[in-house]
């Protein structure tokens, strides 16, 4: 029984997957009313970017793998961003007793 498909997974398939993930993250970022969900959407978008970097690193830059180094830096920055974002959220919750994005309008004209 020969089930082997002659074509490997192409680069484009990974890029389409990353595009879907990124657009889902953008939609969630715009439409979430819970501030924690906004932070989760940002993490989704960062992961989509990382998938792109890794796909390019494996398919186009196979020997120097600069994409993997960049992905490590993105992961570092994402960790820092999550820590600071959640600390801001916590202090915001302590002052306003809500996590509703529509009510965080203190600086809005």
């Amino acid at each position: 029984m020969n089930l082997s498909i002659p074509v490997d997974v192409p680069l484009q398939a990974y890029l389409v997957l990353a595009a879907i993930l990124f657009c889902t993250g953008v939609w969630g970022l715009i439409n979430s009313r819970n501030a924690v969900r906004v932070l989760m959407s940002i993490e989704l978008m960062l992961n989509a970017v990382n998938i792109n970097l890794m796909a390019f690193s494996s398919y186009i830059d196979g020997q120097l793998i600069r994409g993997q180094v960049f992905a490590i830096f993105v992961i570092t920055v994402a960790a820092a961003e999550a820590a600071v974002g959640l600390a801001i959220l916590l202090s915001l919750y302590r002052n306003r007793e809500t996590v509703d994005m529509e009510r965080f309008n203190l600086l809005r004209w």
């Binding site: 498909i5 490997d8 997957l17 959407s41 398919y59 993997q68 820590a83 600390a87």
Partner: protein, 209 residues
């Protein structure tokens, strides 16, 4: 990775289905705790995709940092701010969702078009495979040394900033003993500073300030 194309396709399709369904669940589910756990699933599936892309070190870093740290941090944040509140109705919310959905679909179509029409320079040089970890180490200590050191400074700044932002300031001193009063008890009776409809403040607490 040197596995058969058929196996590769099966792994890719399963992982990408998990990523897409999980991310939709993160965005759409009404219960935020389910969203947080699905986010962990998405992170794990993305780590599996990294393994398929010859990046074992970054896959391990993804599991350690995202699933082990960021996701746990998000779960703790949900536990700390989890209060049942009825969200006020916003006029024109379905229209807003539809419009933003249209914008996101347009963005996706644009990305898809770029993806299909660009002549990618594939196949490039053969992937490094298991030597990737060694090469990453070489990069980090030669041509990416400055960003590497800056990343450590950034992490230190983020840590200090998070502590400063999230700590509770001690407002009150016990009048009899002169010690700091229990902050949690005070915050239970204290009216938050910026709530719009501020009810009457507790006069007993006000006098101790």
């Amino acid at each position: 990775m040197t596995i058969a194309s058929f196996t590769q396709w099966i792994c890719f399709l399963a992982l990408s289905a998990a990523v897409v369904v999980g991310s939709l669940g993160v965005v759409l589910l009404p219960n935020i705790v389910y969203s947080a756990f699905l986010l962990g699933g998405v992170f794990l599936s993305v780590a599996g995709l990294y393994l398929m892309l010859n990046a074992s070190f970054v896959a391990a870093a993804q599991v350690l940092v995202y699933v082990g740290a960021v996701n746990v941090l998000i779960l703790f944040a949900i536990m700390l701010v989890n209060k049942k509140e009825t969200l006020a109705e916003i006029p024109g919310l379905p229209l807003r969702r539809l419009l933003s959905g249209g914008v996101c679909a347009g963005l996706f179509l644009l990305l898809l078009r770029v993806d299909v029409t660009t002549p990618w320079a594939v196949p490039g040089p053969s992937p490094a495979g298991d030597d990737a970890t060694i090469k990453i180490g070489m990069h980090l200590f030669s041509d990416y040394l400055l960003p590497f050191e800056l990343a450590s400074v950034l992490l230190l700044m983020a840590m200090i900033g998070a502590i400063v932002l999230a700590r509770r300031d001690v407002y009150t001193v016990d009048v009899i003993t002169g010690e700091n009063a229990d902050q949690a008890l005070i915050e239970k009776i204290r009216t938050p500073l910026l709530v719009e409809t501020a009810p009457d403040r507790n006069p007993a607490l006000e006098s101790t300030r």
